[in-house]
């Protein structure tokens, strides 16, 4: 998938060792709801086609995410939950402790799918 380069949000997907890295920078709000949904749909397709074991999502430079974009993550995780256990991959969020909404929102995702989601707090 080509990188997303809008004024409010930049997103890049890269292949890494046995997985994918998704990096989001900027603000995920009303203006990019469809873009984020399409991005995560594409990531899921790449992850299942490539039989990866983990997708890392780097949110360390994501200033804010609204509930519509947050919901796209919920939908993505639920798609992984619906895969046969052998095809499921883990999702590791890299968060920034200085961006305070991330702790609560990512904790909610972790509670939603504790067996799939890992949160890693790491400042830049």
């Amino acid at each position: 998938m080509p990188p997303i380069q809008s004024a409010e949000l930049k997103a890049v997907v890269e292949a890494i060792d046995r997985g994918l890295l998704v990096r989001l920078v900027g603000t995920a709000d009303l203006r990019v709801t469809d873009t984020v949904e399409q991005l995560l749909t594409s990531v899921h397709q790449q992850a299942t086609a490539g039989q990866v074991s983990e997708v890392r999502v780097d949110l360390r430079d994501l200033e804010f995410m609204n509930s519509s974009c947050f919901k796209s993550f919920v939908t993505w995780i639920s798609q992984v939950q619906e895969l046969p256990e052998s095809g499921q991959y883990r999702i590791r969020f890299m968060s920034n402790p200085k961006i305070l909404w991330q702790r609560r929102s990512l904790n909610a995702l972790s509670c939603f799918a504790a067996h799939l989601v890992t949160i890693e707090a790491a400042a830049n």
Binding site: T27, D29, L30, F64, V74, T75, L100, A108, F112
Partner: protein, 172 residues
Amino acid sequence: MAECDLGFCELSFQQRPELVSVVRRFVSDFYDRTLCDPDVSSRLALATHELLENAVKYSRDGKAKLRIEVSSRGSNAHILVRTRNRATAEDAEYVQNTIQEMRGSPDPNLYYLDVIRRNARRTHGSGLGLARIHAEAEMKVSVTCGKGGTMTVIAETDVELNEAALSVRGVA
């Protein structure tokens, strides 16, 4: 108690969704300077963003108003975030039902998790905004519908003023 003695701001919007994030940054700074607590500021900024975005997105005429009031109650501050728009009867009914259901649930976090599960495959709207305000921002949410389809949504909470905030007020 003096009304809004710690500050208030009021903003009117036309259909400009890109301004919602601008407002979030502005009010975040306002909360920082008034309450001197980054965690509280973050929670309130999240609630303000969600309420305003909904008010703009679901406004029948593209207009929305935001008012924020911060008033002192002893060593606490009461923060009220209010949005007003003209909503369709369907949207107003949805918000009323959602808030009624939310307030009937004893635990905001368990309710939020339940809403996340139920709405995972929903295609129209996230259905998460109000529950997110209730759980993540730790705010009580209410709604009033008036004449001409006017809908007012309020999120409010009390927070303890820390030494820095009291110092700003000249109390400490």
